[in-house]
Symmetry: D2
Subunit: 379 residues, 4 copies
């Protein structure tokens, strides 16, 4: 076995940087043999001492405080952007134009325009591009999509999802970049809402058609500045496949740590998912044995040898965690790079990133105008 190597340049070493670095290191031996062996060439970040320590910690050969140094490095074949939202566009475009494959954290841009531009410019270069909607790579989510695609649920009537967190309920929580429009683009909408919009599209294989939305900011002033993004949003949604449902996200839900839940109802069954129990999928099938006496939602522990991604892991019942979604995601991307294959449909590419941004913008516009918005997607 002789696996080729690919040099990785990572922008950002905080939450997302840690998750991606861990995934590169893990996939190299857990997905065996790996599609390509990731070589950690360089990590970029703003603060010299911190980025230096990150390089030592995660094993990058060098570090830099200037992301352009990654773009210029011929040893780097994959540029991984885990920086804040306002650092997504320029570095990613530059890297692609330098011929590097790119992965960028979600939301792709701060709004649909920026996202569209990012997509168009990167697509024009011909490199592989992946927008890091990592929850597509939860085994239970992949299983949900596969069951729906196989027709197990019949005609789909409903998709409802919510993504609830609690971390800024306290008025004493200070200003951070995620609460500022200039850096983040939006609040719960782009951060949490983008995930569930993407999951609706992914598990059903369809697009959002129209939205009626409502944004709300509960606390306008925090220590360190004014909040100019949404704390929560609510939406009634129609999908292109005829399904209808609700979408909502909030950072003001005490007790909900990372509560991304969704449910799909179809003519032959239903399924539901909860990220806080990510090894499980609830499945109800109308026509399952042994007849009407023992019907009900099953708690499927998605850890069997036959389950998605499970060839990499452990015997049944030996669960995985949140971080493993990144292992699956980067394994998927490296495979596409190796094979010159498609990132889609299981990976979200930059067009997906753009389309989700278009839906987010539509929800925000609907909130302002009070009108239902038919989502129009640009090419």
């Amino acid at each position: 076995m002789s696996v080729e190597r690919i040099g990785v340049g990572l922008l950002g070493y905080a939450f997302m940087g840690k998750a991606h670095a861990n995934a590169y290191r893990t996939l190299a031996y857990m997905t065996w043999p790996p599609p390509l062996v990731p070589e950690l060439v360089a990590v970029a970040g703003r603060t010299e001492d911190k980025v230096a320590e990150a390089a030592r910690r995660y094993g990058f050969a060098r570090h830099t405080t200037d992301w352009r140094s990654l773009v210029d490095d011929p040893a780097i074949g994959l540029f991984d952007n885990g920086g804040p939202n306002d650092q997504h566009a320029a570095p990613t475009i530059a890297a692609a134009q330098a011929g590097k494959h790119v992965i960028c954290e979600k939301p792709l841009g701060r709004d649909a325009d920026e996202s569209h531009d990012l997509w168009q410019r990167v697509a024009a270069t011909g490199v592989k591009h992946l927008c890091a909607f990592n929850y597509r790579f939860v085994p239970a989510v992949r299983l949900a999509r596969e069951m729906i695609a196989a027709g197990d649920l019949g005609e789909v009537f409903h998709f409802r999802a919510r993504y609830l967190q609690e971390w800024i309920t306290d008025p004493a929580f200070p200003m951070v970049w995620r609460l500022q429009k200039a850096t983040a683009g939006s609040g719960a909408l782009g951060d949490l809402g983008a995930h569930i919009i993407d999951l609706g599209r992914y598990v059903m294989g369809t697009e959002v058609g129209s939205v009626s939305g409502l944004l709300r900011t509960f606390i306008d002033e925090r220590e360190g500045g004014s909040v100019d993004v949404d704390d929560a949003f609510e939406a009634a949604v129609g999908f292109a496949n005829g399904a209808v449902g609700t979408l909502e996200a909030s950072r003001f839900c005490p007790g909900r740590k990372n509560a991304l839940t969704f449910e799909v109802n179809g003519s032959r069954g239903s399924l539901s998912f909860d990220l806080e129990r990510l090894n499980e999928l609830q499945v109800h099938l109308l026509d399952s044995a042994p007849g009407p006496l023992a019907q009900g939602f099953r708690t499927v522990l998605v850890t069997e040898a036959e389950h998605p991604f499970w060839e990499h892991w452990w015997p049944a019942g030996h669960t995985i965690g949140w971080e493993h979604t990144f292992v699956h995601e980067l394994h998927h991307l490296l495979t596409a790079i190796r094979d010159d294959g498609d990132v889609r449909p299981h990976g979200a590419d930059f067009e997906d990133g753009y389309r989700v941004a278009e839906v987010c913008d539509a929800i925000a516009r609907s909130s302002e105008t009070g009108e239902r918005v038919e989502v129009v997607y640009r090419n």
Copy 2:
């Protein structure tokens, strides 16, 4: 002890008639001493042999196929309307005008106009009137309201609710009165949505302010006629107290038998409820002992001696069922009649019934126009 008696005349002997008849019989000894002893004077229904059997079964002294015979009967002090929606207005108004206290099943009328008229005419007579939103009388729901009213949840940010059933998912399910606008007024909206709209108002003690809605009919033609009501609705909602959330109901959710769930998030905690586990309330409180290490949603089994309504029942852990909500509701009404007291705030009166209908109409109007509707309530 000498408890006064009150004669009861019941319209309808099917699902709701059975539930109400059972409640009258049960409260007479389980809520001891009862506020008033209900005497089952007469039951009315359309089909002679069936209503005759219902009278024998539930112990009504007589039966009739003409509801006017109840209105004319001086032995009847309480008129109970458990008939289909198009039989709510005329009999209930006539009974009130004949001086009888009235209880009417939900939805009060088939739309806001009919509901408003019903309320106004009945209120003018001075009798007690109760709209049978029985889920207010689930012990866990009452506890939720009491905790919110006591400030246990602090400032309330969110109310989200859904009411999901599965019973018409099968295209072979035939036409019934609940699927026709002329008799039912609306579909899932008035039947299921009315319950969760009322619960949002009740548990938070506020009103719905604005709605953006979406109605959908998945199957237009059934054996026996055309469906001209909604199979499902979705809505993004703002409340007068500043809370926002989603509301939805559907009869197309396989595996969801009677899945009324709601969740409230506030600055100091959260709670959630599921009608399929009606003896439980999930409660999360930010400041509960013993500090940050052991926080989380508690599964409160609402069966303690101190819990609402529990003085009537059993030792802790010996659960009650769906039917008991009617026992509590009628006990509440009889108490108000005996004491000439208020039906509100724990009981929904006809003004509540009307206000819910106004919200339902607003959701339907928003679905048609695509515009957010500010709900305007008439006096």
Copy 3:
């Protein structure tokens, strides 16, 4: 329709008396037409004013402080013994010898000897006899038995059960009759353990073969006297059908209100039950559709029209409570009386009551000697 009547004489008006009285009243119209119409002839109890009020409350035609007055009353065809354990034998035997059918609360006697004597003397009279193991009449429990009897679980390997409560954890909880051997016979063993021993026998259709047990009293002295019964017991058990498992019960489990749970594992599937969610049965079947990808325990809401006992109640999803087990149980007994049919296998008769007592005694004996006890049943 002309249903015959049967006169009921009830001994005891407290917890069990209330549950039985409610059941007689309810079954008369909810199980329609009832097998026999129960006529509440008389209630007996020790305290004149309380038994008088109970008669008024539940509608007994008369009351008495002497149970012999029930035995002597020719209007009484069914003697219902809901008194404390030391009042089970003499009144029940006397009633049977007077030709009355009998139902007696569990445990049948205070030990195996008393229970055997009770059974033998009553059986000799030829009347119907039922020992009130009411949890056999939970719909989910009946369904469990029917599935096992139908072979849905294949060969059965395990039965494990526990019955946990919390009510005497507080050392300040005073002495009551249930904590005294003279009146109660035993503690958690006979009160709670008897239920799960009976359920193991019932759902598997087998007998307990051998037991290794351990009894424990955590608090010996309470206000009002010394505790001379067990607070908890633990046992490893072998059944006649080859299954093995554990049984345990305790009144020292904070947070466990009425936590009777059991699980059965067989070669083709498993099922589990929790009394605090009595409308549900967890079912796992190895060979259920759609293959290995979506296997898992199903939460079956046992409220469908096809489910046991459900012909008496409500549409699917409209749950029942603890008290309904008594309605089913007494309906079953009245049917057996009307038809001169068998109480068994779905009802526990006095032989069942005796056999359970024999197992309880064996557990206590094993606790004393430290030796495994093969349970020997007398005829």
Copy 4:
């Protein structure tokens, strides 16, 4: 920062070898700075090509088919034994006698005698020794121990645990080493039972006092040989601190993938755990706010910054998996080696491994003789 290195020699590359190798690689950057940097010096296994591939996969500098080569290698400071049970004693003793610290998978030996000998010989060398009871290193389990140690549960009355799997329910499942006494020592008892015996000791900080046990083999003959170990065991147990409970394990429980559950009840509260939801701990505390109205078991998501081990991982709600227990365990061991500190109380050392084996033997002996066995521990 300059962290010292420690050379690791691993025996076994299958299930446990993979889990340990992953943990060494992960802790090097996730627990930052690591106590010692593990250097993967060599891996040993029986099959040349497989062990060679394992070395490439996990990054060991060399491989060998002779474990003595590890013992002889001066570059190895820590010998990690992940081989089958009959390969625990000799290599581990040899390594310790060569001055290497040792970690050995559980069960320590195949019986108490072998385990005692292993402990004694290794202890005599003065190296650090850890028996890999990895479930002690689940954050929720550590939290359980800390709460009990802090007195949050008061006096402890009960510990009950079960460990259920399903993997040999199928009679067609062939003979493997785990089903043979010569290699495995025992069946479910030593493999699964050892874990829950150790957890009872660990979370309560006490020892098992006496046991009454029952072993059972459901299928004696399999393709490839005769099964001479237990398929399941059941036990009633008394602990030295006065608590009583049941212990059981089985590999014949369809639907139970890796269902290690335990519950502790004390005078002030209860807690329970389920390995299939290892990020959660159920906690009930009698005296928690806000008084009696909202008491109940809390689902604590053990992912807060303040929770055990969580300094290494992610923001709250971003769960970890089964494999992370090994990261925590090896981090603990490396810290003890670096600091010349105690492996106990949070780590199980070889004395713990021996004591658990003594309990296992007692259960087996009790099963044979039918007598309760007081467990006697040797020094």
